[in-house]
């Protein structure tokens, strides 16, 4: 290599190192602090201990909030996947009048009416329905927001599956619901799985909706409880915060790795927070 090429290589790697450092720097704390005997805000190699996780187990709100997160995520996931799959199937296979306009409107709506922009009317609606401080209210609001995109993801999968399976099942005398259960569901399972994972990741990380709709810390999910840990007055308990952050992050990272390995994280499934 000529000196000019060497220089070019050097510059190339220098830029990559800088970008990688920028990306990695904030995350290092999450990796090291939970295992540090005396965690500080600075990132440093820890004096190894698991004591912080014991603190976590003793905190009355921490583990409970993870349970709440699971409850909200699973509740929303079931509602969104079941209702979404039924609607997606019907929209994919039957020419209901006004279908195309409906789909267009759904797509438009799902991007416009975000939890942030519609925060005030959603808060008021739940207030009028007496669902403030109820996890059901949170599940309903989140489901309403996620369903349009979920219908889209699943309809896409269903459009690409051949109708011939259903037609041959019909020839053999299977009823519509039987066909649905025994033929359609197994065939579109990847689409349903994608949608389920996508919903769980969305709800797991959602902060705003439970933050405005829930009042009592006993009902709040981890997103909100973690926030109160570092904003309530006094010296924040860094051992608790770091261990809790890590435990709370593990499920989404695991799901990402699973999806990435199984389907490859490219733009076909359409998974997005």
């Amino acid at each position: 290599m000529t000196p000019a090429q060497w220089l070019r290589r050097l510059g190339f790697y220098l830029v990559i190192v800088l970008i990688a450092a920028f990306l990695a720097l904030p995350v290092l704390w999450l990796v090291f602090a939970p295992f540090d005997r005396t965690p500080t805000l600075a990132t440093s190699l820890p004096a190894w201990t698991l004591h912080n996780f014991a603190t976590l187990a003793d905190n009355p709100y921490a583990l409970r909030s993870l349970g709440n997160s699971v409850l909200l995520a699973v509740g929303t996931m079931v509602l969104v996947t079941v209702l979404g799959a039924l609607a997606a199937y019907a929209l994919s296979r039957v020419r209901i009048p006004g279908r195309d306009g409906l789909l267009y409107a759904l797509l438009l709506l799902s991007s416009i009416v975000t939890g942030t922009a519609a925060m005030v009317p959603i808060f008021l609606l739940i207030y009028q329905l007496n669902l403030i401080d109820s996890q059901l209210g949170v599940v309903l609001v989140l489901s309403g927001g996620l369903l349009p995109a979920a219908i889209f993801i699943m309809k896409d999968f269903m459009d690409t599956t051949p109708r011939s399976y259903e037609e041959s099942a019909r020839v053999f005398g299977a009823g519509p619901l039987q066909i649905l259960r025994d033929v359609v569901v197994p065939v579109v399972r990847p689409g349903i799985a994608t949608c389920a994972v996508w919903t769980v990741v969305n709800v797991w990380g959602n902060f705003l909706t439970p933050f405005i709709l829930l009042r009592s810390p006993e009902k709040s999910p981890a997103a909100v409880v973690l926030y109160t840990f570092y904003t309530e007055g006094g010296q924040p308990n860094l051992g608790l915060i770091s261990a809790f952050s890590l435990l709370y992050s593990v499920p989404v990272v695991a799901m990402y790795l699973f999806v990435n390995r199984r389907y490859g994280f490219r733009f076909h499934g359409g998974i997005k927070r």
Binding site: L23, L108, L226
Partner: protein, 319 residues
Amino acid sequence: MAQATSPPTDREPGREPEPGRGRASAAAGADDAAGLGRVRASAFVVPALGLVGVFLVFPAIWTLYLGLTNFRLTGVAAAHPKVVGLDNYTNALGDPGFLNSLWLTLLYVLGSAVVGQSVLGFVVVWLMREAPRAVRTTVETLVMLAWILPSSVVSFLWIAMLDRDAGTLNALLHTPGTAWLISHPLLSIIVFNTWRGTAFSMLLYSAALDGVPPSQLESARLAGASGWQQLRDVVFPHIRGHLLTNLLLISLWTFNDFAPYLITAGGPNGASETLPVFVYQTAISDGRLGFGSAISLLMLLINLVLAVGYLRLLRERRP
């Protein structure tokens, strides 16, 4: 909350080919392979639409009315809200807090989405083409990690890194005692959001670059085009559609991003109070729901403009 996830390679709704149609055009339910029938099909669609109707469509429409009232959660206005006409809107347009917040939001979107995420995303994709596989995997994983971690977690990671006394950034830059979140609040959340959201641009540009014919790049290189010339004359014309799509989507999401609240809560003195934070503070914290609704409606309108732009692009790019 929900975000349109359709990647630009998706087919547009309503334009998809109808495989069953030409074959048996006689029956209305020709597509209906399982013999579901219209009635049962409608019964399948109604529950989902009902939920979307009540918790997504209704709030959006209700905002129209709420924004015209002096609605409050407590006090006289709570029991008997009065219609105050366009007062909330005229008040908003004259409110220095609102105008300040609108301006900050514009800077936030331009700085972190249009410039930050988009440029960094492209640079990562462009550099990684030549990088060894291990380097590529590492960098891509880091980008994705920043994107998938919950916002409460990443917010605290940044608060810790930018801390005045013990923060890692001050230790690295040898600038002890600099309170970044107080002296440069807007810049801090812009850099944060660039870090946080680059993944989407990276994924999209990576898909876009796959569509650039290698032969064209090769001939440009043989003709002696420099890296910059190849970018400008070969790559850019091919990915222009993706570029616009990306800019519209990340602008939409950044505009609706509530994460700044978790880091600076809009402070100090409103110096990082983007519109979502402003709406939260006025409507939910201070209880001025009518005024907050008026601003919500303005936000919905801005979202509408961005989303319609995106959908038009999708339609145009179809052959």
